[in-house]
Symmetry: none
Subunit: 258 residues, 2 copies
Amino acid sequence: MVKGTTAVRQDSNGGTESADRVADVLLLFAQASHPLGVTQIARSLGLSKAVVHRILQSLTSRSLLQAARGSTYVLGPTATTLAAKAWSQLDIRSLASPILRRLRDDTLETTTLSVLVGHQRIYLDQFESPQEVKMVVELGPRFPLHSGASSRAILAHLPTVFVDEAVGQLRALRTDLDVEAYVAALEAIREHGYASSLNERGTGAASIAAPFFDAGGNVMGSISSSGPVSRYGEEGHQDHVRLVVTAARAITAALAAA
Amino acid sequence: MVKGTTAVRQDSNGGTESADRVADVLLLFAQASHPLGVTQIARSLGLSKAVVHRILQSLTSRSLLQAARGSTYVLGPTATTLAAKAWSQLDIRSLASPILRRLRDDTLETTTLSVLVGHQRIYLDQFESPQEVKMVVELGPRFPLHSGASSRAILAHLPTVFVDEAVGQLRALRTDLDVEAYVAALEAIREHGYASSLNERGTGAASIAAPFFDAGGNVMGSISSSGPVSRYGEEGHQDHVRLVVTAARAITAALAAA
DNA sequence: CCATTGCGTTCCGCTTGGCGGAACTCTAGC
DNA sequence: GCTAGAGTTCCGCCAAGCGGAACGCAATGG
């Protein structure tokens, strides 16, 4: 059935020809500096115009492409959404992995990677403790910036509009909030370079978290070493802090070098 | 042959089921905050695991996706390239800022930047009026294209499928819609180069908006000068319009030069 | 240790979705 | 008006890809 010239294209191991073709069309747009037309794409890939047209319709229906002038096509808004995700997942996650794995091996606690997304925080990755009783987080859901060591480590380095917002959110939850103490605690986090929590939400969990920054000095997220509160006493605390802060700095350095 | 449940997915006009499926898999990754596995994707889209696996292989062979831990998948390097291209198309904010700031200073009203995202509009930026009573918008949420000057300034330059959709949406909201008048108003907007609104949603807000275009002549968004309706009378209206339209043209020119 | 569960990966018979060639429509230029 | 070349639509035909199921692997619990 498939008769397209495949001199320029290659197949996939275990994929399908038709899916390969969709991917190849998208690749052309990734490499193009101007709108592309049906015939141009067909020639470049050695496919029939009818096939290309069909693929374009499917991609356009999902806004991965959009129609441009003169019946040509350009990348569409969904490709933009892919941008934010690909950037945040590819660069930070792969850079941070080896560092977090080492931190896990040094502390024997679960280490996590969080990123700031808008005005919230997302767990992006974790390396689980080898111990039987350990902390395990769910990757994906969004967390507010006002509570938890991982959040506060980020919030401490954000502009006051973020802090005001966080305070407002906390006030709605707790009428007894001591705002001055809260703001002073953020100041201390900024000064010491880390945040910690001990059974903060009554979950029996404890955490030491430190922020990492982009090349411009803007906070992008935080890493943490977390586990059961019984393993987070005064003894060894400073060593633990040093490991977390050092790892966060390594991530900041890796991001700057990338 | 194709037996996938299509309750959640929609077909494309003129596309193929198999290409639609590839696009839908990519969409899932665009919306996901963490790695996805074969079974998860299969369940979300109502497809067989074998189909999903094949699509993943094709996308992985082109680095649109890549294998992650635990046999899951995440967006790959080509997605970043693709997205970078798309972002360059949408990296309007920095180009538009100086223009919008000047417009704010000239009009003493709040100026906004909106972009077309799929079939909706998003406020991307604003420069607030120095006056005490002023318009302030929320950046981020999506607005329909059918209502408001900023939306209509965009809609007037979109294909009829967008207009039909907008009319459909409006009809659901207002049974007394005069479609002919609505379409004629869009025609006037296209002709005059701007849209305006006066207390349109009973919010006391008024606005003058003009569209801007990419290098290919496609409408990408609109800018507006907005404030309390009491400041938007006939006196000074033409001068105000001229400032907005001129600023929009400057953004179009800046985009063409980029 | 075995059984169960649930994941990803591979296999294979079957059929229909999508292929490709060609016709059609539209536009621009001469 | 004709030609050329683009995008879009049509339709007969068949093999590519479907989906069900088997397989491999890992984790968990008894």
